[in-house]
């Protein structure tokens, strides 16, 4: 990858006080991620994967280190992340293990809410949400509430919601954990497509080794530290 990184994590650490013990959830991690990359973040439980994602997603400030997005310093120890709500809305999309859809909204509404929050006019938001869902093969499910959707469909709605504001960075925390292998593979292929077609940087925390072939590179974490050097891609993708 060349050019300025979209995301730059510099020596980020996250320490928690647990009684008299200091838990080093993340311990001096540095990485750079570029537009169009699909990055896998792997590692055993408690290795700091989710903490890294929270810090990259501006949901937790680091105890030490700095986070840059498009060369702008956005997070540092003591940063007031609540003030970055608008920035997060425009720059970062999230997908989690659970789809976290709002149960009383239809699939379209679950997507368009993200746009309406960003002050997009309601009709235009619904139109774009319908278009996004169609692109994710959910055109026939636009008026269904989450309870009428399968796990895979719910996760694709969550992906559509993450894409709604066209963010340059998409963070996914074990998005396939609740899906069977076929559905899990489909979601990972979707991320691959998003990275390529939208030139978005997609970082996916996963335990699933079956999707390794889809990643541009994999960052491996252990005890809060990055083990593998993320400079070389696992497999080249056009």
């Amino acid at each position: 990858m060349t050019g300025a990184p979209l995301l730059s994590v510099r020596n980020a650490a996250r320490h928690y006080q647990s009684g008299e013990t200091v838990v080093r959830a993340l311990d001096g991690a540095s990485l750079e991620a570029h537009a169009g990359e699909l990055i896998g973040i792997m590692g055993p439980s408690g290795s700091g994967k989710s903490t890294l994602l929270l810090i990259c997603g501006l949901l937790e400030p680091p105890s030490a280190g700095e986070i840059y997005i498009r060369d702008r310093l956005v997070s540092y120890p003591g940063a007031d992340l609540d003030k970055l709500r608008g920035f997060r809305r425009d720059h970062i999309g999230f997908v989690f293990q659970k789809a976290n859809l709002i149960p009383f909204l239809t699939a379209t509404e679950n997507v368009s809410i993200a746009l309406e929050i960003a002050d997009v006019e309601a009709r235009a938001a619904r139109g774009y949400a319908t278009q996004l869902l169609g692109a994710l093969d959910l055109g026939h499910r636009i008026d269904n509430r989450p309870s009428r959707l399968s796990g895979g469909e719910q996760q694709r709605v969550a992906v559509a919601r993450a894409l709604a504001n066209d963010p340059p960075l998409i963070l996914a925390d074990e998005p396939t954990a609740a899906l069977d292998s076929v559905r899990g593979r489909q979601v990972m292929e979707l991320f691959r497509r998003i990275a390529v077609e939208r030139s978005a940087c997609v970082m996916v925390v996963t335990h699933d080794p079956r999707s390794l072939d889809l990643f541009d590179r994999v960052i491996e974490l252990s005890d809060g530290r990055i083990l593998s050097e993320p400079s070389q891609p696992v497999q080249a993708h056009p």
Partner: protein, 389 residues
Amino acid sequence: MNLAIKDIRFNLARFALTALGIGFLLMGAIGAIGLYRGIVADALLVIDHIGADLWVVQGERVGPFAEGSSISSTMDRRVEGVEGIASVRRFVQFSQQFSFAGKVRRATITGLDYPRDDGAWFELKAGRHLEASHFEAIADDSVGLPLGATIRLAKDDYRIVGLTHGLVDSAGDGLLFVSINDATAIASRRPSEQVLLARETSGNAAPQGDGASPSSVPQDSKIAAVLVGLAPGADVARIKAAILAWGDTNVLSSAEQRDLLLNQRLWRLRLQILAFASVLLLVTAIVISLIIYTLTMEKLHQIALLKLLGARNSAIVAMILQQAGLIGLFGFGLAMLLSHLTFPNFPRRIVMLPQDLGIFFAILCVICLVASWFGIAQALKVRAQEVLS
């Protein structure tokens, strides 16, 4: 997109049940205040509508409502002679039980000084006012007598010639109007043995002085008061002073009668009902607050998600306030509906004054706002990452 309405439509049954519960609670509080208002209204019905400027009652007494009063049956003639008095009527009122259609009925017999007073000061629901000085009666429909029915009171039969609605005394017993002479006769009814004993006592009594009664009030008088209507421009103070100078009478204005009734005779009951209404209102406030707070707490995960999506605090606050407001509004609407449907069937009058309902609505708004404020305080504390928990 209005998230509050979307949520309500999704959980319509729960919203309806919540609003219904709040409606019932509010209805109870409205009913308690309405009962208080009803008791006051019932108690003041006669005083406010009979059209008397002054009440001449037994000396050293404040009758006939706050305590007993008995004056001469000819007192009206004496009062009529005072300058500045335009009209006089005698008044008597007492409770009576009687049988009709095999059932015991209760009524408060009220004497009308026919022909000076045929009852034109109250509205009839059916029939007519008194047209004869004897054996005609006008009954309130709460007594349960049909028009044209004949009832036996004391030793005479009375025909119901008119029906009223909502004319009751402070205890809630329906009024039964008869002529003052008939009322006196009904009140004077005694068993034969009692008459004989009275004659015996009277025959053995020692003569007092010149043989005249020591009081101008005959012991068997049943007249409680004389109602006075003043001539335009009459000097009230002078008239009162003139009547008080007789020594055997007292004079009270209608305002004084109202005050005596409300603040002497009924004050314990009023206080009791007001205390009960206050407790009910407090319970209502606590329950409504808890409902709204709990509803907000249930949404914390969704609120965290909205924050994650970048929603402004104002959007989250609006959602909570709108939902609380809608619950309050529907609860109040249901309370109104239920109150109007059920209270007319209650045995005592429930008076719902617009100003009371306005105050209830304002209190409800405050409750919703305070409960929402607690919910909002919690919602604003929620961090976006809690969506992961």
